[in-house]
C-alpha cells in the first residue's frame, strides 16, 4: 500500500481528533459524547450506504425510510407494554381485524392461482386486479374504525417491553425485508429507477408512520424510548452517553471488520467487477441481479439497524422528525466526502461530516446574526423576523453544495477506495 495514502489518512483522522478535543473544551463532555454517539450511529448508516453505492453502484435515495422502519420497530419492540390497550375492546377489534386481513390475503393469493381452474390471460389479470382493489378498499374501511377505537380508548397500542437490542436487530430485519421487495422490482433496471423507487417508499413510510396514530401516536410522539444501557436518569449524562457510545462504537468496529473481509473475499471482488462493468451481464446471466439484491438488502438492513440505534439515542420517536435531509442526504454527503467504496472513508466521513453539520448550527446563527447587525447598521436593512430559522434552513444549501463540489473536485472522496488490485 502506498505511504502517501497512509499519511493522508493519519492526517485526516488527527484533524478529526483535534476537532473533538476543541469541542470538549468549548461545549463540554456531555455534549461531545452526544455528538460522538450520534456520529457512531451515522457511521453505521454510512457503512450501509457505502456498501450499496460504493461496492455495487446501487442508488438508494430512501435512507430516511429505512431509518424510520428501524426506529419504529425498536419503538414497538422495546417500549413498555400499554396495559390500557391490551385489556381494551380495541385489542379485540384489532385481533379480529388481523384475522380478517389474513383471510383476505389468503383469498388474494388464491385468486392469483385461478389459472389452475382455467381462467387465464387477460381475464385472470382483470380478476386479480378487481380482487386486489376490493381487498384494498375493504382493508381501508375496516381499519379506520379499529384505529379510531384504539386511539380513543388507549391512545396507541404501546410496545412489547422486550430488550432494546432485539428491537434494533428486528428493525434491521424489517428494513431488509422492505428492501427485498423494492429490490426485486427495480434492480434489473438502471440505477435511476431504484433511486426513484426508494425515494418514494421513504416518503410513503413516513406518511404512514405520521398518520397511523394508533401505532405511533403520530404527531404526539412516543417517549422516552428505552436504552440498551443505563439511561442518564439512572447514572447521569456523561456515564450513560459514554456507555451508549461504547456500545455503538463496538458495533461499528464489528461491522467494519466484517465488511472489510467481505470486500477482500471473492464475493467483494465480484461485486466490484459488476459495478465497474468488467463482467458483462451476459457472462454472469441472472446472477448479477441476485448479487445486487443481496447487497441492497444487506445495506438497507444495516441502515435500518443504525437508524434504530440513532432513534433510540434520541429517546423520542417522532415521525415528523424523519427528514430526507438528515436521514438520507446527510448520509450521502458522508459517503461521498469520505470516499465511496472505502469503509474507513465511510466512518471518517460520518464523524467528520456530523461534526461539521452540528457545528454548522452555531456558526450559521452567528453568521446571520452579524449579517443582520451589519445590514441594519450600514444599509438600514430590516431583516425578516424569521431570519434565524432561515439560517438553519440554509444548511440544506451547504449539504447540496458539498455534494456537487465533492463530485467535481474529489470524485473519489477524501479517503479513496484503494484500487490496487488484490490478487
Amino acid at each position: 500500500m502506498n505511504i502517501d495514502q497512509y499519511r493522508r489518512e493519519i492526517l485526516l483522522f488527527s484533524l478529526v481528533g483535534l476537532a473533538i478535543v476543541a469541542i470538549v473544551a468549548f461545549f463540554g463532555q456531555a455534549y461531545t459524547l452526544r455528538m460522538l454517539a450520534e456520529a457512531a450511529c451515522y457511521a453505521i448508516l454510512a457503512l450501509g450506504l457505502t456498501l450499496q453505492w460504493g461496492y455495487a453502484g446501487l442508488f438508494n435515495a430512501g435512507g430516511m425510510g429505512f431509518v424510520a422502519i428501524g426506529g419504529f420497530i425498536t419503538m414497538v419492540v422495546a417500549f413498555p407494554v400499554n396495559d390500557a390497550f391490551w385489556g381494551s375492546e380495541g385489542a379485540k377489534a384489532l385481533g379480529f381485524f388481523l384475522i380478517e386481513v389474513a383471510v383476505i390475503v389468503l383469498a388474494v393469493v388464491g385468486l392469483t392461482q385461478i389459472h389452475r381452474i382455467g381462467i387465464r390471460g387477460k381475464l385472470k389479470a382483470v380478476c386479480v386486479m378487481v380482487g386486489l382493489a376490493a381487498a384494498f378498499l375493504f382493508f381501508n374501511n375496516e381499519l379506520a374504525p379499529v384505529a379510531k377505537l384504539i386511539e380513543t380508548e388507549s391512545g396507541f397500542i404501546g410496545g412489547l417491553g422486550l430488550p432494546v437490542l432485539l428491537g434494533w436487530i428486528l428493525g434491521g430485519l424489517a428494513a431488509a425485508f422492505v428492501a427485498y421487495w423494492i429490490g426485486k422490482a427495480c434492480l434489473g433496471l438502471r440505477a435511476d429507477y431504484l433511486a426513484i423507487a426508494t425515494l418514494g417508499i421513504a416518503e410513503i413510510i413516513k406518511a404512514i408512520l405520521k398518520n397511523a396514530d394508533w401505532l405511533t401516536r403520530g404527531t404526539l410522539t412516543v417517549s422516552p424510548l428505552p436504552w440498551p444501557v443505563p439511561t442518564p436518569n439512572d447514572i447521569g449524562f456523561v456515564a450513560a452517553r459514554s456507555a451508549y457510545l461504547a456500545l455503538t462504537a463496538i458495533m461499528v468496529a464489528v461491522i467494519f471488520v466484517l465488511l472489510q473481509r467481505a470486500y477482500r473475499a471473492p464475493w467483494g471482488r465480484m461485486m466490484r467487477a459488476i459495478r465497474d462493468n468488467e463482467v458483462s451481464a451476459a457472462a454472469m446471466g441472472k446472477d448479477i441481479n441476485l448479487r445486487r439484491l443481496q447487497i441492497f438488502v444487506l445495506g438497507s438492513g444495516l441502515i435500518g439497524f443504525g437508524g434504530a440505534a440513532l432513534i433510540s439515542f434520541a429517546r423520542i420517536f417522532d415521525p415528523s422528525g424523519f427528514t430526507p435531509l438528515k436521514h438520507t442526504f446527510l448520509v450521502w454527503v458522508m459517503v461521498l466526502v469520505g470516499g465511496a467504496g472505502n469503509n474507513l472513508g465511510a466512518i471518517f466521513g460520518a464523524v467528520a461530516v456530523y461534526i461539521i453539520w452540528l457545528m454548522g448550527e452555531p456558526v450559521a446563527l452567528l453568521l446571520f446574526e452579524s449579517v443582520r447587525e451589519l445590514g441594519s447598521l450600514w444599509f438600514d436593512w430590516e431583516a425578516p423576523a424569521d431570519l434565524m430559522t432561515r439560517a438553519l434552513q440554509a444548511r440544506v444549501f451547504f449539504v447540496g453544495l458539498t455534494i456537487t463540489l465533492a463530485l467535481r473536485f474529489v470524485p473519489r472522496g477524501l479517503i479513496p477506495e484503494r484500487l490496487n488490485k488484490i490478487s
Partner: protein, 334 residues
Amino acid sequence: MNELIFFVNKVLISGTIIGCIYALGAIGVTLVFGILRFANFSHADMMTVGAYIAFIFASLMPGAGALIGLPTGFVVLPLAIICLAAFAIVVDRLFYRPLRERKVRPVMLLVASLGVTLMLHGLVRLFAGTSPRSFFQDEKKDVFRFDVPFELASRDIVISEPQVLLIITSIVCIFALHWFLTHTKLGKAMRAMSDNADLALVSGINTEKIVRATWIIAGSLAAVAGTLLSLDVVLKPDLSFNLLLPIFAAAIVGGIGRPYGAIAGGLLVGFSETLAIFNWSILLRPSAEFLPEWIDIPARMAFVPTEYKIIVPFVILIAVLIWRPTGIFKGQVL
C-alpha cells in the same frame, strides 16, 4: 344530480388540473432523461424556483395584470420562463457539464442533481422563508360558475380563472412543443439524440447545443408548471419531493424520452390520484333509498385516505417497472 356535479368538480376538474401539472413536469424530466441519461431530481425544485421568480416579478409590477384583465402572476409568466431557462443553463454549466466532460457514468449526474435540488431548497428557504404566499394578495381570484340546467342540480360546476389558464396554457405548450420537435431541425435532432446518442455524435450533431436546448425547454416548462400551480393553490417552498414522485411516475409510465407519453402519463397519474382519494360514498348515497335497510353506506369510502395520496403514483410506478419498464409508449431500452 348534485352528487354528479360534485364528482365533476372534485375529479374531472381537479384531475385535469393536477394531470396538466404532472404532464408539464414529466415532459421536462423525460426530455432530460432521454438526452442526458439521468433522472433529474432537481426538476420539482426548479418548478418551485420558477414560481418564486414569477412571484418576484409579480410583486415588482403590481397591477400589471389589471391592465389586461388577467392575474398578474400569469402576465409575468414569460419573464419567469426566460429567467428559469437561463437559470437551468447556468446550473448545467456549473454542475453538470464539468461531470459530462469527464465522461462520468450518467448516474453521477443524478447524484449531482440531488445536490442541486438541496441547494435550491436552501436558497428558496433562505430568501423567501418557509411561510406560504399567495399571488392573490391584492387581486381577486376570478371564479367561474356554470349553472347546470337540470332541476335537481342546485350546485354549480366551479372552475377558477387560474385553472382555466392552466389548462389553456398546457395545451398551448404541448402543441408548441410538438411543432418544435417535428418541424424544426433542432427539435428533430433532440429526438434523434434521445433515440441514439452515439449515432447523433457520429452524424456530426452538436450535442452540447442539443443539451442546451433541452435545458431551455425543461426550464421553461418547469416555470410554467410551477407558476400556474402556485396560482391555483398557494406558493410554498416544500413542494419538491411530493411533486417529484408523481412526475417521475408519469415520465416512466409514458416511456423515457417520449414527450407524448409523458403527457398521457401525467394525466393518468393525476386522474388516478383524484379517483383514489375521491369519496365514492357520495356517489352511492342517492341510491340509499332503494337499498334495503341493513346496508348502510359508510360516510367515507375512498381507495386511499388523502394523507396517503403519495401511495398512488408509487403503486403506478412499481407496477409499470414490473410489467413494462419501457412504459406504455415504448420508451428507450434500458
